[in-house]
Amino acid sequence: MSTEKLELFEVFIRSKRGLDHRHIGSLHAEDHEQALEYARDCYTRRSEGVSLWVVKSGDIVASQEDDSESFYDPSDDKPYRHATYYKLPDEVNNM
């Protein structure tokens, strides 16, 4: 087995309790545990966060921007999903 081609991991960090984990970057590692340690060394040297997630890049299934027309298009012709679509008189507009 090649020791050159380590697996690619994506790193997510929670910068503060109460916030969602955010994608912050990626790295190569042998396994999940090692990835977590590398992530700590690479991405949290200045107390950037309180919690890390590592996920194998290959396990991420992503939609493509090119697909966006068929994937997201219907939203644009459904303006009634937005609060601003409903015009209410000033007296009750704080709703």
């Binding site: 309790r17 109460g18 409903y86 209410l88």
Partner: protein, 315 residues
């Protein structure tokens, strides 16, 4: 864990809560806190999902294509809210299947307002305006709940809720400015949905079984009675703007308190509906079971398709 000592752990936990820090899934937490949260979040999730039924009842009979599209979008949102909430309960170690089982067997509750029937189109207006309005009051407050995944779910939900109440009020506005029959319909819907909406905030603080602990742990941020008063105060001017009659003859501005006074709720009705004797309790659960069972072939088909794909890949 730094310490094996439960009292120390609990002190640290409480300190976090007191400091307005969120509790996250992997943190140590008291068993009671976990249980309390699972009860409250799953109950909230069930409410979103069961709440699709009374409104779904009018999708095919909405008075125009526009109203139908709006109602569909709203009911679709509520299904999504159920999903966010089930997922956040799952971070506490309970499975979706266990929660659904508890709902269907009657072990778990959902907001009893959804056991009232939707008799007229006006009811769709009243639900958006009052029921979503009351839910928003509660959910805005819960954006500051101490459990991270629940708080974040609430932020997402509140963003989406904003149109629900406005579309409901818009329906009411059209009816209230319409002909005599339409005005009567609006008034009748207001009268029927007012009281159950107030009951959504739960029993009086003095009667509420879970309140004290929930406040200390900041699962709840405001008490039932405070939230109810907030809702009453904000809704009465909206009733006046519609030029409808108060649904409660005891509603009166109290200068001294700086709040509206209002009549006592019918708590006997409240507990009867919770215990299963509302108009639609049985129907709601039966429908949920039926939909779940009728969906079984879809789940099986998905599973079979996956197996097939896996076999193809292996070959």
């Amino acid at each position: 864990m730094k310490t094996d000592n439960n009292t120390e752990r609990e002190a640290l936990f409480q300190q976090r809560v007191d400091n307005e820090e969120k509790i996250e899934p992997k943190d140590w937490m008291p068993d009671e806190y976990r249980k309390n949260l699972i009860r409250q979040i799953s109950q909230h999730a069930h409410s979103e999902v069961i709440g699709m039924q009374p409104e779904g009842n009018w999708i095919t009979r909405a008075p125009s294509l526009r109203r139908k599209a709006v109602l569909l979008a709203k009911v679709q949102d509520e299904g999504g809210h159920g999903l966010y909430l089930y997922s956040s309960a799952e971070t506490l170690g309970i499975s979706r299947a266990e929660m659904i089982e508890a709902l269907q067997s009657g072990k778990a509750k959902y907001a009893s307002i959804f056991n009232y029937p939707t008799l007229s189109w006006g009811d769709i207006g009243a639900i958006g305006w009052l029921v979503d309005g009351a839910a928003i009051c509660n959910q805005v407050s819960l954006q500051r709940t101490s459990y991270g995944p629940y708080a974040r779910g609430m932020v997402r939900i509140c963003k989406e809720e904003s149109f629900h109440q406005r579309q409901g009020y818009e329906i009411m506005l059209v009816l209230a400015q319409g002909n005599e029959e339409q005005k009567r319909m609006a008034q009748d819907s207001l009268n029927r949905w007012w009281w159950p909406s107030l009951m959504m905030f739960g029993p009086h603080d003095s009667e509420s079984a879970h309140s004290a602990k929930s406040m200390k742990w900041k699962i709840k941020r405001e008490t039932n009675d405070d939230l109810r008063q907030k809702f009453i105060d904000q809704t009465i001017p909206q009733i006046e703007f519609l030029k409808l009659d108060y649904p409660d003859p005891e509603i009166k501005w109290n200068e001294e308190r700086g709040h509206y006074d209002s009549g006592e709720l019918d708590w006997e009705e409240f507990y009867a509906v919770i215990k299963g004797d509302g108009h639609c309790n049985r129907e709601r659960i039966q429908h949920h079971v039926k939909a779940h069972e009728e969906g079984e072939w879809v789940r099986q088909a998905l599973h079979a398709y996956n197996e097939k794909k896996r076999a193809q890949k292996a070959a």
